[in-house]
Subunit: 284 residues, 2 copies
Amino acid sequence: VLVYLDGQVLPLADARISPEDRGFLFGDGVYEAVFARRGRLLLWEPHLERLRRGLAAIRLSLAAPEALAAVAEDLLRRNELADGDATVYLQVTRGAAPRAHAFPGPEVAPTVYLATRRHQAHPAERLAAGVAAITLPDVRWSRCDIKAIGLLGSVLANQAAKEAGAFEALFVRNGVVTEGSHTNVFAVTAEGRLVTHVADHHILAGVTRAVVLELARDGGLAVDEAPLPLADLLACSELFVTGTSTEILPVTTLDRRAVGNGRPGPITRRLREAYLGRLAELAG
Amino acid sequence: VLVYLDGQVLPLADARISPEDRGFLFGDGVYEAVFARRGRLLLWEPHLERLRRGLAAIRLSLAAPEALAAVAEDLLRRNELADGDATVYLQVTRGAAPRAHAFPGPEVAPTVYLATRRHQAHPAERLAAGVAAITLPDVRWSRCDIKAIGLLGSVLANQAAKEAGAFEALFVRNGVVTEGSHTNVFAVTAEGRLVTHVADHHILAGVTRAVVLELARDGGLAVDEAPLPLADLLACSELFVTGTSTEILPVTTLDRRAVGNGRPGPITRRLREAYLGRLAELAG
């Protein structure tokens, strides 16, 4: 399997990150995961825009991030992933320099890493039954709007979910569900309103989240970007999580209790179909 | 310069971290920085104990972390740093595996990295004048008790301090000063009490911090591990920061205002001398 590292395409086994890379020493970098179909990136523009915002937020200068689209599509071809669905992982760090917290000088170039993998579709049973989620205190920092690589809080939460037999851990901060360890969270209230946490500093403004919001509004749903108190979540009729790899996935069990009637709901299903339709449309 | 990586001592330029290392992809690891004199680690036991606690907190299994002392001292010798003062940097990550938030299987070995450098003594003027600090909102996660490598919040704060011409940024959470971007913080009140934030989840329990507390108590000072409201800090008579590389350093300017009379105070000086005396004692 080939990866891209700092201008070169090479076997993963030959790709060398310096131990002094600030990604390795400080988590000093940002990333994106982009969906591709038949070798073409889909929804690249919002990913690129978020990448630019993240780089600006951490004050990391990268020349021409827009050029990474061609790099990604070239890598997909070389890895023979241009025949189906794939995801491209893209990471930029502040480069390698002797360890010191403050930024290195301008002579230190950022590290740019891209990798690809075949997209794993959800097994049919998972979509039919929905998945389980657990809730955990949100111990993460208060700049979750930056798609930064320092993800230890999410790693520990995701592992706890896995050990509880769940697909996802939902973070609760001050009584409010913010997002999942690697997804955004949506609830459908008993009144049929779609609710998701506002895109402030406590969540990542997901690209899939934005598409879902647009599709919901276009479809005439009442939509609130508002706090999701955990207590309300337990009374909602539908719950689902979204993400580039996750797409839209119904959550039917929360902390071992059934959500709604315990089965994927009609609004979740409709939005999932609309989302997959949108991807098909974008792929042309 | 030689480094240690996964059982081998090799030139830094030959040391290869995989792009799939979870340190690089997730900030999934912990570290220590240990002081050494004439090739021997000082205060290794509390560093080792903290390393064990950190590994346990993130559930990373590492066989025989106590054996890293010999690895560190061997590396100091090979790097010809056994003649004076040095610091050893030591990092353990959850190893390299295809990217997924949850832990990889037990077949994935942790990555263990050690590097050494000559200790930089503070310039005499810095000690004579003290340093400047700024305050910034503490946006970090609420497990700062874990010495984790995901330090982007500290990196950005430290850089902001540097650009403000300051040595350190002090974090303020809910009106209380927790710690610096890479140091612990102590204040001496107008009544002559020594105050530092309690070692809860919002600060790292520094090894130097613990030694200073012990020396202060032994010296008959009244010591409080208690919240340090920012408002009180502005009225304190002395302020200083501590750390393995920082030792004890007086802070004489906070947010461009003089602390106390604007000069390093007698209690800070006494504690610094006692601390350097303790190091000399430990070095034998």
